[in-house]
């Protein structure tokens, strides 16, 4: 497990995103109606800043003239060449078996739980090695300490 605290939840309200740097890589965190997704900010095509792209839904069809539009907010379009990626899985719309971007598990954790799992206060970058694999992310490394009153977004870099 490589779990990183990447943002305070209220910084990424529903319908918004935030690009953070975690362990040397940029990751986009998206809040879709309260559900969180994390996607690497590097397009598998030509390394475009994928997470700066347009967020839309899935358009599909079974016959000419028919349009299905669903999963609104879950499809990310690269700003460079408009390839579409499913935020849930990282799969591209076309050739899903071969073209995919790294997607990570993102979830909400309460400040209380984060602090509780850490023997040393998780408020400084040079905190003692965290318990249970919990690695303080850049959010903590910046200036804001994790506090028990708030909820945080954590990303597991080893998940998908």
């Amino acid at each position: 497990m490589s779990i990183h605290v990447v943002a305070r939840l209220d910084e990424v309200p529903p319908g918004t995103r935030k690009v953070v740097e975690v362990a040397g890589r940029e990751i986009g965190v998206f809040n879709v109606d309260g559900e969180l997704f994390a996607v690497r900010n590097r397009c598998p095509h030509m390394a475009g800043p994928l997470c700066e792209g347009y967020v839309s839904g899935a358009v599909s069809s079974t016959t000419p003239g028919e349009y299905h539009f669903d999963r609104v907010g879950e499809i990310l379009r690269c700003p460079w060449h408009q390839w579409e990626f499913d935020m849930r899985t990282g799969q591209s719309w076309f050739d899903p078996a071969r073209v995919r971007v790294r997607a990570y598990q993102a979830r909400i954790a309460s400040g209380a739980s984060l602090v509780a799992t850490d023997e040393a206060p998780a408020t400084t970058t040079d905190a003692a090695p965290p318990a249970e694999g919990m690695v303080p992310g850049p959010y903590v490394a910046e200036t804001y300490p994790v506090s028990v009153e708030h909820d945080y977004i954590v990303v597991d870099l080893l998940s998908r």
């Binding site: 000419p64 028919e66 390839w83």
Partner: protein, 362 residues
């Protein structure tokens, strides 16, 4: 064994299928036995000489190879015995796909267009297909009026002597558009190939930028017409809408295919939301549904490496069908260019692809 005409590639091998040979209606009167009295009277009385508009002007050297006219005043392509001698009786040739480019799309009276298309088909049946079983026919239809084209396909499309529907490559509206789907459906229902063929007289220019000045521009430019039609067919989703649709591109060249499909695939990835019914990369539809004939040959046969590279990029072993295009003469060298085919591509290109595509062994 027959004598090949000038400019014939004369491939060596067995089981050869020539995927494009032509027959020409010699005169309007030749159709009289197949027309209702009313139309015979109209044609006689009006002096109408038939839909003899020809995308291959008779006097242009590319239109007829020397020796392909019967020598009695009738035009090249109008005599079955010449076709036998120059194509069918040549060693190794097993069958040929017969195409008649009678320009029913120039006839503005819809009933006349319909009647004359039917007459041409009955003429093909009686004077070519019935007497020469090595020939497999193409239905002429009034392509400018989809309902009437469907009616003709319904009338004769179940006859096994017809294997495809002939559509002139140049059209007023591209063939993938929805108002034409009924024609595609009628062909698919009868297991007929839909064939886009050099030529057509839709009334709009043969280039996308307007009217050119010279025949050579229409002749060379037909490749871009084929591209436009193929692009439209794919963008309109017909290959998923009609899963068994097969399309042949005849006399439009094929070396443009790799660059065209590379670009089309690339942009499909970014723009496919506009056409969500295009569910696969365009190149996959071509591979699975489209075949192209080899004449005119639009690559240099004197540079073997270039030939091999282009052939591989086209996926030639999978999508190309050998054709002589008799009696047209495309300034091909007359050398047997097919000797340059990779060994494992010979049988597919010379016969197997066409046999499978046209279901010739059924």
């Amino acid at each position: 064994m027959g004598e090949v005409g000038i400019g014939m590639a004369r491939p060596a091998g067995a089981g050869i299928v020539d995927a494009d040979v032509h027959c020409t209606v010699p005169s309007a009167a030749a159709l009289f036995p197949y027309l209702a009295d009313h139309w015979v009277e109209q044609i006689r009385q009006s002096g109408f000489s038939g839909a003899s508009e020809n995308a291959y002007p008779p006097g242009i050297p590319t239109s007829a190879r020397p020796g392909s006219a019967p020598g009695d005043g009738r035009p090249a392509g109008s005599d079955l015995d010449v076709l036998r001698t120059q194509v069918l009786d040549v060693d190794g040739v097993e069958a040929a796909i017969l195409n008649c480019a009678y320009a029913v799309d120039t006839i503005r009276n819809p009933d006349a267009a319909s009647a004359i298309a039917s007459a041409v088909n009955d003429w093909q049946l009686a004077e070519w297909l019935e007497v020469e079983p090595r020939l497999h026919g193409s239905l002429v239809v009034p392509s400018q009026i989809p309902e009437l084209a469907v009616a003709e396909i319904e009338r004769l499309g179940d006859d096994p002597r017809f294997v495809q529907v002939f559509l002139p490559a140049r059209s007023a509206v591209p063939y993938g558009r929805r108002d034409f789907h009924k024609v595609l459906a009628a062909a698919v229902e009868r297991d007929l190939v839909v064939s886009l063929q050099y030529g057509g007289f839709p009334g709009n220019p043969p280039t996308a930028v307007g009217w050119p000045s010279y025949h050579i521009e229409e002749y060379v430019g037909m490749a871009s017409v084929m591209q436009s039609q193929l692009m439209n067919l794919i963008a309109e989703g017909v290959f998923d809408a009609f899963g068994d649709l097969r399309v042949s591109l005849v006399e439009g060249g094929f070396t443009w295919l790799p660059s065209f499909l590379w670009r089309f695939d690339k942009d499909w990835k970014g723009l496919r939301r506009e056409v969500p019914w295009v569910r696969r990369p365009p190149s996959e539809y071509v591979h699975d549904h489209v075949r192209l004939t080899t004449a005119p040959l639009d690559l240099d046969t004197h540079r073997p490496e270039a030939f091999a590279t282009l052939f591989a990029q086209v996926g030639g072993a999978d999508v190309l069908m050998y054709a002589s295009d008799h009696p047209h003469l495309h300034a091909d060298t007359g050398d047997d260019w097919t000797s340059m085919l990779p060994e494992d591509a010979r049988a597919p290109v010379l016969g197997d692809n066409a046999r499978a595509f046209y279901r010739l062994n059924r």
